[in-house]
Symmetry: C2
Subunit: 421 residues, 2 copies
């Protein structure tokens, strides 16, 4: 007896999952360890930038008033009374007729209000006295980088929800964040089900295959920023599966199982969800592969029942697991980024379901093009290895030709706040 399931569109399935999204608790991590996390608060400037009036060049700090009369015919001489590097502070207040040698980034001495670039003066010495000669007038403020002119203290520079890249980290350091507020990483448990599964180090034996899905998902979870726990594999035995899954739920923020969601005689997941008292959000999605992807919730905790087929498992994880993990981490770019690309292959046969084809998207002359990675027989095996995109071919009555504009979901991009139709 084959159970009848009602397929729902991909979009609706994603929405049903995302209703259970909430950000993880906020924790602080050391600046050294915050890479690729998401800011849980706006990044604020804790000081003015520049933090003091400073010199943008190597040169001399002067009192503008001393240069008013200066010209080629009537050069003005100033005595250099001090030399200051970046990080040191002038000890002397400039008096009439004096200048200070100043390095890039150093603070102006008291009394100074203009900077003269090194190239614009002549230097000479008179005994132990250092003299500079100026041949044009300078105005108050000339070449000075004024305190706060770039950014005022308290300004929000980067919004919460932004991923911490090297550039963001530079800002965090600049503004004194030796500890950084971020959201907790989601802990994601992974169980593979199926009597046919072997551990990786086991020799192949008749009827058996190695458990590749767990490791693939582990990698997908890490890439999304989560903390995977490999719980191992389970035989097709209802009681064993039920107890193991029940126990695992306690230890994780999200639980993923692979296999057992179809309508075969050994597909126990539907019955396990029922016995757990979990609410099934959907058990059929109008897509290929992965149509049997099932998601349930138990007290608000999501249980993802992915297909045991590697490609379907991969797609289910990217489409449904990724966005909820990203949102748990506080990202504002939860979903795979959808772009338009020029198709470099033929799909003559129409398909009633939306297809998600493992593909390679490449740029050429500033335009994105895409072709499937599984074009030949061995592509069945390697198509996931070469894919950086999922081509999204809508279901319907027509095929697709070379040169058509199609949509692709990019697997390696930061992501998008919006879902896709």
């Amino acid at each position: 007896m084959v159970e009848r399931r009602k397929p729902i569109p991909i979009n609706e399935a994603v929405e049903r999952v995302m209703k259970f999204s909430f950000p993880g608790t906020v924790e602080t991590v050391l600046l050294e360890e915050c890479d690729d996390r998401y800011l849980a608060d706006d990044l604020l400037a804790d000081h003015d930038v520049p933090p003091f009036d400073r010199s943008p060049y190597d040169g001399f700090a002067i009192r503008a008033v001393d240069s008013v009369e200066a010209s080629r015919e009537n050069p003005v001489e100033l005595e250099v009374v001090e030399e200051i590097g970046a990080g040191t502070v002038a000890k002397k207040r400039l008096q009439t007729g004096q200048a200070t040698r100043i390095m890039t980034g150093a603070a102006l001495p008291e009394g100074a209000n203009a900077i003269v670039m090194l190239e614009l003066v002549q230097e000479r010495t008179e005994g132990s006295k250092k003299i500079i000669v100026i041949k044009r007038p300078f105005k108050q403020g000339d070449s000075v980088s004024f305190k706060g002119e770039d950014t005022e203290k308290g300004t929000a520079l980067v919004s919460k929800g932004t991923r911490i890249t090297p550039g963001v980290k530079a800002l965090l350091a600049t503004f004194g964040y030796n500890k950084v507020p971020v959201h907790k990483k989601p802990v994601v448990g992974i169980y593979a089900t199926g009597t046919e599964l072997l551990d990786i180090e086991e020799e192949l034996s008749p009827g058996k295959i190695r458990n590749s899905n767990s490791y693939m998902i582990q990698s997908q979870i890490k890439k999304a920023g989560g903390e995977p726990i490999l719980f191992g594999k389970l035989e097709d035995d209802f009681e064993v599966c039920f107890q193991s899954i029940k126990n695992a739920i306690e230890k994780v923020d999200f639980l993923i199982t692979t296999g057992g969601v179809s309508v075969g005689d050994f597909d126990y997941l539907p019955a396990i969800y029922e016995k757990l008292g979990a609410e099934v959000l959907f058990n059929k999605v109008a897509m290929r592969p992965g149509s049997v992807t099932t998601v349930a919730q138990l007290d608000g905790k999501l249980l993802f029942g992915l297909s045991g087929n590697p490609s379907a498992c991969f797609v289910g994880c990217e489409l449904f697991v990724r966005p909820i993990l990203k949102s748990f981490m506080g990202s504002i770019r939860m979903h795979l980024q959808k772009e338009q690309a020029v198709l470099q292959a033929e799909f003559p046969k129409p398909n009633p379901f939306t297809r998600l084809v493992r593909s390679k998207a490449t740029m050429s002359d500033g335009r994105l093009s895409v072709k499937p990675t599984g074009l030949d027989k061995s592509g069945v095996v390697t198509s996931l290895a070469g894919a950086n995109a999922l081509m999204m071919l809508p279901g319907g009555t027509r095929g697709f030709q070379q040169g058509d504009n199609v949509h692709v979901l990019l697997l390696d991009e930061e992501g998008s706040p919006d879902t896709w139709e």
Copy 2:
């Protein structure tokens, strides 16, 4: 006295660095921990795929010869003698008039040579006997996935030098790689020089700024796959800098310093390289920012003298450090990926040097466009935080207009085997 340095083109600078590239020693890591490393060997199929003749569907395994006479008018009845799930092996060899109930992925029983899909039979029982009724003939091999038809044992599926993505990891698991050969991660030491530098947790004081470069580079190194060591900061004191740098070189595969490479009075790096006996590969590059970027080699070990200016430091790290680290890790895609994009801003002023402008590249309708991230005053501070690309504007006598095609180096992409002009 200002030292005269001869600028060389970016391309030539990269080439001079890459002459010292060599892959790190090979080590094996656990499958669980190999993410984002690069395969040090081709990934080989350790078995045929499929590993045995198997059923791609839920259905029944039969002997084709028993169905030869079957038709709508003359249905053939077969007795179901066994039921096998994936992972179990049939105990019974099929005899004349028999069939085996078989699940997706299970191995064909001996004697069987065709699969009949579940939907194509009628089932009934006679007492304890299970019977299926077939109304058409099947040929030998119908719906059988034959051993080795996708991939033969020994086939190289993924080439060495490929990054380990979730899809590659799935293949590694499938083919029994519980340990994975990869190249050692490069250990990269980072020293910031400059008396003006404060630690992150220190309060600002006159003339001082916080050491943001070390943390930014730490993040860039991690992103490139290396293992950064933060050695801290050094005052502008020749002897202290010399000894610290000399000691640090022993502990790392590459050493980066920031600051001290210009021609100011406190820029000690050139003299330190000289005292170390290091050969300077270049100390001036025809680019903005980062023209003072200096690279030296000591017994084949590279010493990167990056500018103390954060943007110049960032650019120097991406252009010169990144590719050598990638090559050390065994990647075949060492350099930043260069693409064409439509300029969304004006650069009316020509510049004699090639400019590398911190920019945001975005896709729209399948086309790449780009604009600088530092368009306003506070952009000076935040331009690195928002950048995912470096716009590469060649030096010369003309400016650039909105709508021009320009080149961009994409910071978040996997990279390219080729360098750029």
